[in-house]
């Protein structure tokens, strides 16, 4: 689009707004066609991320635009930076990314905004003033709540539980765990006690060993809550063949494909996840809307998000996909991803 011409920017306010400051140029108007976007996963080859990005790509195809996937080969805090820098050079209309580290990418993203590229984060946020919209798969609150609820469901509301998280400084995992902790203070869940947060580094071997460790270190453990797809799969896999199977339950966030086996064999009664594809899809539409100046990222603005219907921007540029789906033996076969 012709957005490339105007270069005056303000890249400091939180959340960052587009060039023409306040009101959207063609609010409620049509999506521009031929938009070019770059989608960046935390790490290439991570199946969850790939699903998400395929959603974004789909969105842009629907809008007659094009989104290309580019990403780092490792999930290191700053490994996205070089790729972002080159992405900026290509002057796309928008960049949609899942940040490995909220701040490591911030300076580059600010540059992008300064170069009048629309920046949307999805699934894992960057510093608010470094992006215009954040697609939250579900509110941090919502997920924390869901984790607590599922934990109490599988433990019958009482006993020791442990968390098996991803890397030690994964933004959203830490946020969810914080909320989970808060919830456990409330009378409703006071029966449960969080004894340990272990980090599997999203590595199978490590997650395995951490699971073993939890099981042998905490004999009275009732449930392992893994808010990461790698962690939950590893925990379930280990538990499914361990004598403790049945006494200890696994729950958390995982993809149906990974977990189907373990839901069916009773290792995990219930776990949850939003549809990653939808996250990406929504991100794609939000980015397109920004790039078409339909929205600026200000609170209260609304836009049509294809099959997801109309969406509204909440405080500091967040858009929430909705409550996560909970998968159980009953419904899991309806989902394939």
């Amino acid at each position: 689009g012709d957005t490339k011409d105007d270069t005056e920017t303000s890249a400091s306010s939180a959340p960052a707004t587009t060039a023409d400051g306040g009101a959207a140029a063609n609010a409620g108007g049509e999506y521009r066609r031929g938009l070019k976007a770059i989608v960046m996963p935390k790490q290439l080859g991570n199946p969850y991320e790939e699903l998400e990005d395929s959603g974004t790509v789909e969105a842009f195809e629907e809008l007659g635009g094009e989104a290309t996937i580019e990403g780092p080969t490792d999930a290191g805090a700053s490994s996205q930076v070089p790729i972002l820098q080159s992405a900026i050079q290509k002057q796309p209309d928008a960049i949609i990314l899942a940040a490995n580290d909220p701040n490591a990418v911030a300076p580059v993203l600010k540059q992008a905004i300064a170069r009048d590229i629309r920046v949307v984060t999805q699934d894992s946020d960057a510093a608010p003033d470094a992006r215009q919209i954040f697609i939250n798969q579900a509110t941090t609150e919502g997920i924390g709540e869901a984790l607590a609820r599922m934990a109490s469901q599988v433990t019958g509301g009482r006993g020791e539980i442990a968390v098996l998280s991803a890397t030690a400084n994964a933004t959203n995992q830490n946020a969810w765990i914080r909320v989970l902790r808060e919830r456990l203070q409330t009378p409703e869940y006071s029966g449960m006690r969080l004894v340990k947060v272990a980090y599997g580094d999203d590595d199978d071997q490590k997650s395995f060993q951490e699971t073993q460790g939890l099981l042998s270190a905490y004999p009275n453990l009732r449930a392992i809550v893994a808010p990461t797809t790698v962690g939950i799969a590893a925990a379930a896999r280990y538990l499914s063949t361990s004598p403790k199977k049945g006494r200890v339950q696994v729950t958390g966030l995982g993809t149906p494909d990974q977990m189907r086996k373990f839901v069916k064999d009773g290792t995990s009664e219930v776990f949850a996840l939003w549809n990653p594809k939808d996250v990406g899809y929504l991100g794609g539409y939000a980015a397109a809307a920004l790039a078409s100046d339909i929205i600026t990222g200000a609170e209260g603005e609304r836009f049509e998000a294809g099959r997801l219907g109309e969406r509204e921007i909440l405080a500091n540029g967040e858009i929430v996909l909705g409550p996560p789906t909970e998968f159980t033996r009953e419904n899991i076969d309806d989902f394939r991803f």
């Binding site: 790490q43 290439l44 080859g45 991570n46 199946p47 790939e50 080969t73 490792d74 030690a168 340990k196 272990a198 980090y199 199978d204 071997q205 490590k206 395995f208 060993q209 951490e210 073993q212 460790g213 939890l214 042998s216 270190a217 004999p219 790698v230 799969a233 590893a234 896999r237 063949t241 361990s242 004598p243 494909d257 990974q258 189907r260 086996k261 373990f262």
Partner: protein, 345 residues
């Protein structure tokens, strides 16, 4: 004194030196065994469950894959080469195995065999580049480490293998037991045993030591150095391939990043186990024990509820301690040998 006395004096001097050197060479493994037992003991005292049968089985399982690959790595290191590509080979093979089993429902045996073959082919590349290409092994395998991993990315293309799609009989290899012992550990045991016997009892095995010890002399002794070195790399690759298959069997979930960074763990295991990084010295048993020790450290830190941040530091420190210990023993030996040569007239 007459030549006769001299001869006698020399004989028992030789005797002493022999006993000493033998002891020292046994100590190479001895030291690490002691370290291992000490670690287990300490952990067990603080947390008795650590030595429950189940938990021991897990320890064995955790070490198995590393031990198998370390066995191959030992062969390579003995020839004063190094194979940094094992981690990538493992990743490639692991996904290949999963892919064959879940998407092409191939017989398990065949799939595993193909994994080994795949690994072996990677080994051939490394070996040929090192010997006939005369490219230092560190350079070659540093390169192929990148390349094989890249190929894995291209091949998997973001897909993932899930336990659900893998046959249970296959998954059981990773988690099940045979006559009460974890199957995967049995496999590792057999592999290590075979490699060990080969190294100590067969000409070609000894020749690997010779090459690592002084490869110019090896050539003059008519040893087919290139052939042997290629052989070592092929074995290392093949075992990494087997490791890949077992990885898939054990974890059920495999994507392109499987086994990233294994190369350093494997080399650490070998070196901790007393395999000299510059060739000619060490045994595959030591390497295997090294693998077990590394696994135990991680587990015991977790069991002892020590912040897992300490784990990496601990492993690093141990590695250094191990080679330092080995070095000191070596110095002792040299000194002793010097003493006796001095006595000869």
């Amino acid at each position: 004194m007459s030549t006769a006395d001299v001869a006698i004096d020399r004989r028992d001097a030789g005797e002493r030196a022999r006993r000493l050197s033998e002891l020292v060479f046994r100590m190479r493994e001895l030291g690490i065994v002691i370290a291992l037992l000490a670690l287990i003991a300490v952990t067990a005292i603080l947390e008795p469950r650590f030595i429950e049968w189940d938990s021991l089985k897990d320890l064995a399982r955790n070490a198995s894959i590393i031990a198998i690959i370390a066995a191959g790595q030992t062969l390579v290191i003995l020839t004063r080469n190094i194979d940094l590509s094992v981690g990538s080979v493992l990743g490639l093979a692991a996904f290949f195995c999963g892919d064959m089993l879940s998407n092409h429902n191939m017989p398990i045996i065949v799939a595993i065999a193909l994994c080994i073959l795949l690994g072996a082919m990677c080994g051939v590349v490394n070996g040929v580049l090192t010997t006939f290409g005369r490219v230092p092994a560190l350079v070659v395998t540093l390169g192929t480490m990148y390349v094989f991993r890249g190929i894995a990315f291209v091949y998997t293309d973001g897909r993932q293998i899930n336990a659900e799609t893998l046959p249970d009989s296959f998954l059981n290899i990773g988690t099940g037991t045979l006559i009460g012992i974890p199957t995967i550990a049995l496999i590792a045991f057999v592999v290590v045993l075979i490699v060990g016997l080969y190294l100590s009892n067969y000409r070609s095995g000894r020749e690997l030591y010779a090459i690592g010890s002084n490869d110019a002399a090896a050539k003059l002794a008519g040893i087919r150095v290139d052939r042997r070195v290629v052989g070592a790399f092929v074995a290392s690759g093949a075992l990494a391939g087997l490791g890949g298959a077992l990885y898939a069997a054990r974890f059920g979930t495999v994507d392109a990043t499987a086994g990233t960074g294994y190369e350093l763990t494997v080399i650490s295991a070998a070196v901790v186990g007393g395999v000299a990084i510059n060739g000619g010295v060490g045994s595959v048993y030591g390497a295997a024990i090294g693998a077990v020790l590394l696994g135990c450290i991680t587990s015991s830190l977790i069991v002892l509820r020590i912040d897992s941040f300490w784990q990496q530091a601990a492993v690093g420190a141990l590695l250094i301690a191990a080679i330092a210990f080995d070095r000191l023993v070596g110095l002792r030996l040299d000194a002793a040998l010097r003493q006796r040569s001095a006595r000869r007239a």
